[in-house]
Symmetry: C2
Subunit: 365 residues, 2 copies
DNA sequence: CACCACGGGACAGAATCCTAG
DNA sequence: CCTAGGATTCTGTCCCGTGGT
């Protein structure tokens, strides 16, 4: 009864083996029934003020914490959301998953992160895990879009899902408008006088790269540029690096006067090539980076970049997921038709873009 | 009995409302008892091959997945580990948590990430959550070391815990040897002829910064440098930026000829100041960065940096945590005394260090 | 008598429904 | 109508006991 006894099995020095208190222990100590304890803790209906007080005291004295596993069983809900992505170590997505985590946390959900390394079997394993744990929702981020088995598994998993940077009509999707982004970049370069613009891109298995290349080629078509495809260099593995892609581009019979680099890793490699070849930015080659980072912001020279608000994307996606979860709990089938949000990008002008040295041949296009 | 009926509630097109199959359903369908199903799934003892086959068929047909919550109750284990850190969005820790996640995953554990924003109340909330969920372990990363309540909560949480970048004798700790790192940096600069070396550091609440400043001052003392403390600039908030710290340093009556920058964010700001003031690196100021990143690797000029293997740290820490968890399950109290691992750093020489312009006054120290 | 496969029941911790006062 | 106790439920695991070899 005295709350100031700090020895023994008091709150301090909990022995590892000590079983933690259950709701039954609390009920006994407070001299009430289990049901009453539950009611006090979840304040579902009114209980006698005195008993409520005794319960709260008992909870404090026993350092009682409800067991989530037991709650999960009854409530059929875990308050956990899986975040499945290719690589949690990719700094590009750091802000995104931070925003997701934060939003979930604000509603008392926890986020469990699963990296798949963009490997199909691990994607399937992650989905199976999500099912075993009966997670309340899934945030699925990027990765190749065309794996039929994975897409089928997502459809069958039976857990509300939102997808980020994936275009799938079955779920709510949240994508950056990379088509518009690459257009912004290309038009900025054209405005500076460039008519031959190269593109260095990672493999187009995942949506972001695919959409960018798509957007670029569409723009070329609109402008009547016929050899746009020749100027798009796809970097496949880590071996076939951005360094080589940049070199191939610059050794073309009629090399580009400007380059759009997709992804921060590639940008670094392109810059390395330029340094190695003794070429200057922007004098010998103008550069726009898709994606803003420390290198574009603080490098020398600072690189013009296309930027977008990943924090917003993550927050919106998580918010929508929570809506879906609530709707399902309510009993209604779900919450209306799927939505597909597209986020605009913006151009940050810096010193890496200048007029081409040889006053570009404008006859093309 | 026919397994080829694919309509209705078959695996494809699971309706959202459809309750997922339980072990009882499987038992009924296979015509065996619940216990037998359990034995087949966990292959604890031998069961009749025919019955086992029937069970496996039923599992496949019903698309049965065991319910973790129910397993947790009996097994008193969740196969989940909490990763508590200040900010999951900080790219500095991306590799670290990726390694932790990967190591846990290899042993079929899931990682739930919790950001605290380095706010005491949220740290306590994270620990409470870990207790509610009965996580099997905790990886605690960085954050201010001196919050008594937090440290008490870690001690009382009753869950095996390892700590990264925190020096706490009660747990296994895994720290980078920043004292050695800053020494490496300083000695490299001294070897190049610098005797006045400035330091720009974030607030020393957290261990990494504290250890670095400590190491620097210790070195100064050894060398008989008496005004080392004057050359250490602590940047507190985002307002009092690295830009200003660099400026203050360079406007000293006798400014340093070299600077050690702690943290990538600060490095960028120092470089910004240099550009704004029209000063060149390394001609007007040599720089060594503690921490390697894109900016140090690919910037212009590339910056000499102190680097370490965070992936290893994370992997080791997670591995040790798994050992502790196993040991506790085995019944033994724990697994021996706590360990405190320290990881060496290494210097990567790049072009940001040169001899000081005015052949340094060597009479000091 | 030892052994094995297997069924049946107790159990874990919390929520919720029913019912009696 | 409000309060609170008691029984029931959720899903798997583990142990015990039985019947057959």
């Amino acid at each position: 009864m005295t709350g100031d006894d700090k020895r023994g099995e008091g709150p301090t020095g909990r022995r590892p083996g000590a079983r933690s208190a259950t709701i039954k222990d609390v009920a006994e100590r407070a001299g009430v029934s289990i049901g009453t304890v539950s009611r006090v803790l979840n304040n579902t209906t009114r209980v006698n003020a005195q008993k409520a007080e005794r319960v709260r005291e008992a909870v404090a004295e026993l350092n009682y914490v409800p067991n989530m596993a037991a709650q999960n069983m009854r409530r059929k809900t875990t308050r956990m959301v899986a975040c499945i992505l290719t690589d949690i170590g990719n700094p590009l997505y750091a802000r995104l998953i931070a925003a997701v985590q934060r939003k979930l946390n604000d509603s008392d959900y926890s986020m469990v992160a699963m990296s798949t390394g963009n490997v199909e079997s691990r994607e399937l394993a992650a989905l199976a895990t999500a099912r075993r744990y009966r997670f309340d929702g899934i945030v699925y981020i990027t990765g190749s879009q065309d794996r039929a088995e994975v897409n089928a598994a997502i459809a069958e998993v039976g857990i509300p899902t939102v997808q980020i940077e994936r275009e799938k009509p079955d779920n709510d999707t949240f994508c950056v408008d990379h088509r518009q982004g690459v257009r912004l970049a290309a038009e900025h370069l054209r405005a500076a006088g460039h008519s031959r613009i190269g593109v260095v891109t990672p493999g187009i298995g995942a949506r972001p790269a695919a959409a960018r290349v798509d957007g670029f080629l569409a723009l070329c078509a609109e402008l009547g540029v016929t050899d746009g495809a020749d100027l798009v260099r796809q970097v496949q593995g880590p071996v076939d690096s951005g360094f080589n892609a940049a070199m191939a581009l610059m050794r073309l019979a009629s090399p580009p006067t400007a380059v759009i680099s997709l992804g921060s890793q590639l940008l670094a490699e392109v810059l390395q090539y330029m340094a190695a070849a003794g070429l200057a930015v922007p004098e010998d080659l103008s550069i726009v980076s898709i994606g803003d980072n420390e290198l574009t912001r603080f490098g020398n020279p600072p690189i013009s970049a296309i930027d977008w608000d990943f924090a917003r994307v993550g927050s919106d996606a998580a918010g929508r997921l929570l809506q879906r979860i609530d709707a399902r709990r309510g009993g209604g089938p779900d919450d209306g038709p799927t939505i597909a949000r597209l986020y605009e990008t913006r151009l940050i002008e810096r010193r890496s873009v200048a007029a081409p040295k040889a006053p570009g041949r404008l006859h093309r296009g």
